[in-house]
């Protein structure tokens, strides 16, 4: 599906995400989870090489990022970008554009959902002055205002304190209730547990999909660490 320097980074990805489904992707560091997210979003350098990528019945493999976004796909980066000089309110409004003009109430609600005080943040810049955690929350708030059909969240829990894990779970559920499907890359059992379905990723392949608790239990207890093994991925499943 996607190769780099002759090496395939994604190889056997067979993944289905249902309507308003929360789907976790679990896997070790380097398994290819972010690469999968970038390929779905169509980022530069992550073009789809073979196979199909069907969204709402349409092959989107050749579409640009913008076109995919306008069909309702969006991505929250594991490490969000900084935008010097761009105010939080303007950033949140950009994603919302597809739904008409955003109201002040909607802006405030989105920030409250990620546990940021609107009066403190709306007029600040999404730049250097914010901590990594704050930017991460704002990134998630921008997904809320966009109301996508498919939200791809790359480790929304990393870089945010454990206390707010509950809030992330609540947020993912709120996205679902507002009509989004959520593909969430995570290391946290709590998030997996709140999912409808989970998939285990290993060396660029989805090894199995199914019940989230079962998948996360398998990952924790029966998956041989990638670095202690030389044989192909299927060997990991003995």
């Amino acid at each position: 599906m996607l190769s780099r320097d002759g090496k395939r980074i994604l190889r056997g990805v067979n993944l289905e995400v249902g309507d308003q489904e929360i789907h976790s992707i679990i896997g070790a560091n380097g398994a290819g989870k972010s690469t999968l997210a970038y390929t779905l979003m169509g980022l530069q350098g992550y073009e789809h090489e073979e196979g199909s990528l069907i969204f709402d019945g349409e092959d989107i493999a050749k579409l640009s990022i913008t076109e995919r976004a306008r069909k309702g796909i969006t991505l929250a980066w594991q490490e969000p970008a900084r935008f010097e000089g761009l105010k939080v309110r303007d950033y949140l409004a950009i994603g919302a554009k597809g739904n008409g003009d955003i109201t002040e109430e909607e802006l405030k609600d989105a920030l409250k959902k990620v546990d940021l005080k609107p009066e403190k943040y709306l007029d600040r810049e999404v730049g250097e002055a914010l901590s990594g955690g704050e930017r991460k929350r704002i990134e998630l708030a921008s997904i809320i205002t966009m109301r996508p059909k498919l939200a791809i969240l790359d480790e929304p829990d990393s870089g945010i304190d454990v206390v707010s894990l509950k809030e992330i779970v609540a947020l993912i559920q709120a996205l679902k209730e507002n009509g989004s499907s959520v593909l969430v890359i995570t290391h946290r059992e709590e998030i997996a547990a709140a999912s409808d379905k989970a998939s285990l990723m290993c060396e660029g392949a989805i090894l199995r999909s199914g019940d989230p608790l079962e998948i996360s239990e398998f990952f924790k207890n029966r998956c041989i660490p990638c670095d202690s093994r030389v044989s192909p991925p299927k060997a990991a499943l003995q």
Partner: protein, 320 residues
């Protein structure tokens, strides 16, 4: 209290008002008598209105105006003073000589708009001598508008002396329309406990040429400065930035920060120069030239923007 109002042909005033608005100013402000203001069109003074605590003298010369402005000792001017310099015709030369003194313990904010909306063959020179007295403060924001043709040379030169405990903040911005040729040359000498911040923001397009030279000498103990430059250039524009900071006294602190974004065939050069001859002084610098950050562009695209609109928002943010 000095109150000078010189009236001329009203159509010229109207033209300047329009030009002032084009540069982002609110023209109504220029006609309020309770606000100090100065309006110069070509070599004509259209309006010079000082208020209490401000001495404002003007002298028309062959190609411009000599201006003397003094903020009297102890006066903290409550409202900003508005300045407007410009030239309406397509061609011409304007030379402004500015002699500015903020006396001890005074404070003032100057908001300047320099506007050349029709420039095809215009030269504008500004030669400023500024003294910020002991514990005085000057905040100076200067917004330029050079019109859409790029037929202009703008050469602002300033020499600024900041006395003990004084502070000087300046923000030069030229981000809409063309630049033409810009040669910006500011030199600052800062005494003990003086504070200085020089910010320049310029957006160059087509065959615009931008030269920025800023030099700060931290001559007094504990003097502090920041030189911050944000440049975006595209098409065939070129830019050259030199930010020099000298730390010459104990606990002097300086920083030079230049960030440039280039697109198309644009070429940029940035040279931060740091000189320190006092072991207790510290001067740091950073300079980055590159294309627009890919992750920023892709993030905005993933929110539904076209690539060009995403780049536009990012560059405007940087120059805001």
């Amino acid at each position: 209290m000095t109150q000078i109002t010189i009236s001329t042909l009203s159509s010229e005033i109207e033209d300047m008002d329009a030009a002032y608005s084009a540069a982002g100013g609110d023209a109504a402000i220029l006609h309020k008598h309770e606000l100090a203001s100065l309006v110069i069109s070509g070599s004509k003074v259209l309006n010079a209105n000082g208020t209490e605590g401000i001495v404002l003298e003007t002298q028309e010369t062959e190609h411009g105006v000599d201006v003397k402005m003094i903020i009297k000792k102890g006066y903290k001017i409550p409202l900003p003073v508005h300045l407007c310099f410009g030239l309406i015709p397509e061609d011409g030369l304007q030379e402004i000589k500015m002699n500015f003194v903020a006396e001890e313990d005074s404070a003032v904010e100057l908001i300047a708009h320099c506007t050349f909306p029709n420039a095809m063959k215009v030269i504008h020179r500004m030669d400023a001598q500024m003294v910020i007295g002991k514990n005085a403060s000057l905040k100076y924001t200067e917004t330029h508008f050079h019109g859409p043709h790029g037929g202009i040379e703008v050469i602002p030169k300033a020499n600024i002396k900041i006395e003990e405990g004084g502070s000087y903040y300046t923000n030069f911005s030229l981000v809409s329309g063309r630049v033409g040729y810009l040669e910006f040359d500011y030199t600052v000498e800062a005494k003990k406990d003086a504070v200085c911040e020089l910010v320049t923001k310029v957006y160059g397009k087509k065959d615009d040429k931008i030269k920025i030279l800023e030099k700060v000498s931290l001559n007094g103990e504990n003097a502090r400065s920041v030189i911050k430059s944000r440049l975006a250039i595209t098409d065939d524009a070129v830019s050259e930035f030199r930010g020099i900071t000298e730390g010459r006294a104990p606990r002097a602190r300086g920083h030079v920060d230049c960030m440039e974004v280039i697109q198309g065939n644009a070429k940029a050069e940035a040279i931060p120069i740091v000189r320190v001859d006092n072991p207790l002084a510290k001067v740091t610098h950073e300079a980055a030239i590159g294309c627009v950050d890919k992750k920023e562009v892709e993030t905005l695209m993933a929110r539904g923007l076209e690539e060009d609109d995403a780049i536009d928002i990012i560059v405007k943010g940087m120059l805001a």
